[in-house]
């Protein structure tokens, strides 16, 4: 079963409007981000900094777990896991 990645609205212009993307070969969050970046150029720069670390104003949850409190990008993924990308927003 694939991993499902939920794309937030601010990033959907880069995913051709797709709100969810299924990935077959993503054993870690890092692999998922790399596969997403291969499919959708420009996404990597929005998620990762120049050193390949998760940007400080973006967060990723594996199911309901905050990856910042686990193994970060090395967090493992299994069948049917859901990744949710949560960017900071400031509109009011």
């Amino acid at each position: 079963m694939p991993v499902t990645v939920k794309i937030p609205a601010p990033l959907r212009p880069l995913t051709q409007g797709q709100a969810e993307v299924s990935l077959e070969n993503a054993p870690t969050v890092k692999a998922a981000v790399e596969e997403l970046s291969r499919r959708y150029p420009g996404l990597r720069e929005r998620l990762l900094d120049d050193k390949g670390a998760l940007r400080r104003y973006v967060n990723i949850f594996r199911n309901d777990e905050d990856i910042r409190h686990g193994k970060m990008l090395d967090t493992s993924l299994g069948a049917e896991d859901k990744l949710t990308i949560v960017p900071a927003i400031a509109g009011g």
Binding site: A9, R56, Y57, A88, A90, G92
Partner: protein, 242 residues
């Protein structure tokens, strides 16, 4: 006993949050003092989603126009307009005596500054935000649950994320998130909120989907972690403990 709520930003979120919190005070029977903090003036482009304002308010200070309207519709609430910006030089005075702060501003720097100041002074914070079709709500209960910096380490550099002007804001979503901010603030004022600490709620306006995720406390958080007291954050203006 009168309780004090501070609304930072009387815009798309602050307007409905103020309206509903005033009504909730009457229904729930608590005495409310409401500080409205904003140094902006009403613009015509605000009228569609900033529901306290009318055409003849254009050009007026938002806190004055909102204060007049709320004083008429909710005379049981003491309205205190403060036409200033929340920043290092004003935060201590604005937060003095506050029982809860509702942040509906449109600036990352102000949001992180409000988070830091509230955590440092032990004041509960209701963080609400909208952009495009997406809304977020986070209950920050100092020393009980996580804070905004446990979720995001800091504000993005200017221009790295789309602004409201670029991405727009779904008008009805302001009402949804603003009302949820008022409901959460009311629960905080009534002391009925422990399970809400650190819960991040997100709304997707296009699908109607709402999710809630628990944001765990980060022991190394520079604002609310174990060694965080009196830490200043240059990225948020360096607002210290009031």
């Amino acid at each position: 006993m009168t309780q004090t709520a501070v609304i930072l930003g009387v815009g798309g979120l602050g307007c409905p949050a103020a309206l509903f919190l005033c009504e909730e005070a009457r229904v729930a029977g608590f005495s409310l003092r409401l500080l409205l903090v904003d140094d902006d003036r009403v613009e015509r482009s605000n009228l569609s989603r900033q529901i306290l304002y009318r055409e003849d308010d254009v050009g007026r200070l938002k806190v004055v126009a909102a204060g007049r309207r709320l004083s008429k519709s909710a005379p049981w609430v003491e309205i205190v307009p403060r036409p200033v910006r929340f920043e290092a030089s004003t935060s201590a005075q604005l937060l003095r005596g506050a029982d809860v702060v509702l942040d509906g501003t449109d600036s990352f720097e102000t949001r992180f500054a409000a988070n830091d100041a509230c955590c440092n002074s032990g004041i509960p914070l209701v963080h609400g935000a909208v952009l495009g079709w997406r809304g977020q709500l986070l209950a920050v209960l100092p020393r009980v649950g996580s804070c905004l910096r446990c979720l995001f380490e800091g504000p993005p550099p200017p221009g790295s994320l789309p602004s409201c002007a670029e991405a727009g804001v779904l008008t009805p979503l302001c009402g949804v998130v603003g009302a949820a901010m008022a409901a959460l603030a009311s629960r905080i004022l009534r002391g009925d909120v422990a399970e809400a600490a650190g819960r991040l709620h997100t709304w997707e306006g296009a699908s109607g989907r709402q999710r809630a995720i628990t944001v765990p406390r980060d022991p190394g958080c520079p604002t609310c972690g174990a060694s965080a007291r009196a830490v200043r954050h240059p990225s948020s203006g360096g607002i210290p403990c009031p």
